[in-house]
Subunit: 202 residues, 2 copies
């Protein structure tokens, strides 16, 4: 592993857990097993190093979205693919959402740069949903609400992990991990029930 990759790996770990403000260049150097001078030798400033970590992190999320979209013809196909792809990513990087949200709230002007760099095919999924509504496959729902609902159900439990662990599971780790195991299918079924056409054959 090259020194540069080594630094990026260490920086990702520190930045994701601490955020930009609380992250310390010294800690990144320690984590990478090098010294601070060499850190600045590779990435001149903290800001430059952070930029790379941040845009890489966002791209990971984007990919789980676009990937699921490309491989799906129906909405329910997309839903199941996306939920599991996203959850799989978050299992490996549980600090990812809080990191992204924290930094976007800290400096919301950053999102403009991000928006131009990383084009997310939002109109495609909106269209897919709208079409299924028109065809009577799912109930009438605004695509924006449905999209927000999906992402909320997936992401929020990770952002609120400490609070859920404590106030809902009383710090019982077993109960909590059992909850997490079934979470994916629970989300999929919950959403499918909420948007299916009721069969009122009275």
């Amino acid at each position: 592993m090259s020194t540069e990759e080594n630094i990026l790996l260490a920086a990702r770990k520190v930045f994701l857990q601490k955020g930009f403000m609380s992250a310390r260049m010294q800690e990144i150097a320690d984590e990478a097993g090098i010294n601070k001078a060499l850190l600045h030798y590779y990435f001149r400033t903290k800001e430059k190093l952070f930029e790379q970590i941040f845009s890489d992190a966002f791209q990971l999320i984007k990919q789980s979205f676009t990937g699921s979209l490309l491989n799906s013809l129906t909405f329910s196909e997309f839903l199941r693919a996306f939920v599991h792809a996203y959850l799989h990513l978050l299992d490996q990087m549980p600090y990812l959402p809080q990191f992204i949200l924290q930094e976007l709230n800290r400096d919301s002007s950053r999102i403009i740069t991000l928006f131009e760099q990383q084009k997310v095919p939002m109109s495609a999924i909106k269209k897919l949903i709208a079409t299924e509504v028109e065809n009577g496959e799912i109930i009438a729902i605004k695509p924006e609400h449905l999209i927000v609902n999906i992402i909320s159900l997936i992401v929020f439990p990770f952002v609120a992990r400490p609070i859920i662990k404590t106030f809902i599971f009383n710090q019982n780790i077993e109960d909590y991990s059992r909850f997490n195991e079934g979470r994916g299918e629970e989300i999929v079924q919950f959403i499918l029930r909420a948007i299916r056409i009721p069969k009122n054959m009275i």
Copy 2:
């Protein structure tokens, strides 16, 4: 308004927007229209001032939960009351969730103190849900999942506001505020549809 209240108001504004680490005592003093010396005269340290803001903030959330629970006999009553009470609170303090989550992720040991101070009647709502499941009023669902789902749908859009504004609404403020207006009933109906018993009278 007393100086103390004045300081607390200013501190709340700054802490909620910036978080503990990024908040500056000087900025709080400026916001309160006083100087830094007087700030330390009232609240000896930054930590002490923060503690008060934080526990006050958490209490507000707790109250919208317990209040809705006390005034409801059925789950759907609780659901509608809670969703609207919570959203009403967040309309006034949109930075509240991100603040709480950020600080709990920064120092998760803080949550233990919080848990002992602020007892949240979680078992009551769990029981209410379990009873309705047994009585066949709603579909079989684990209370933990349902509770997490409710809170996710309410809170997440506030935490992810900049990202939703940009990637879903293309910075179109009108579309976004129209989305927010209908959000409360959208959440209620979405959940009710997801947990109702299907009437399969074939």
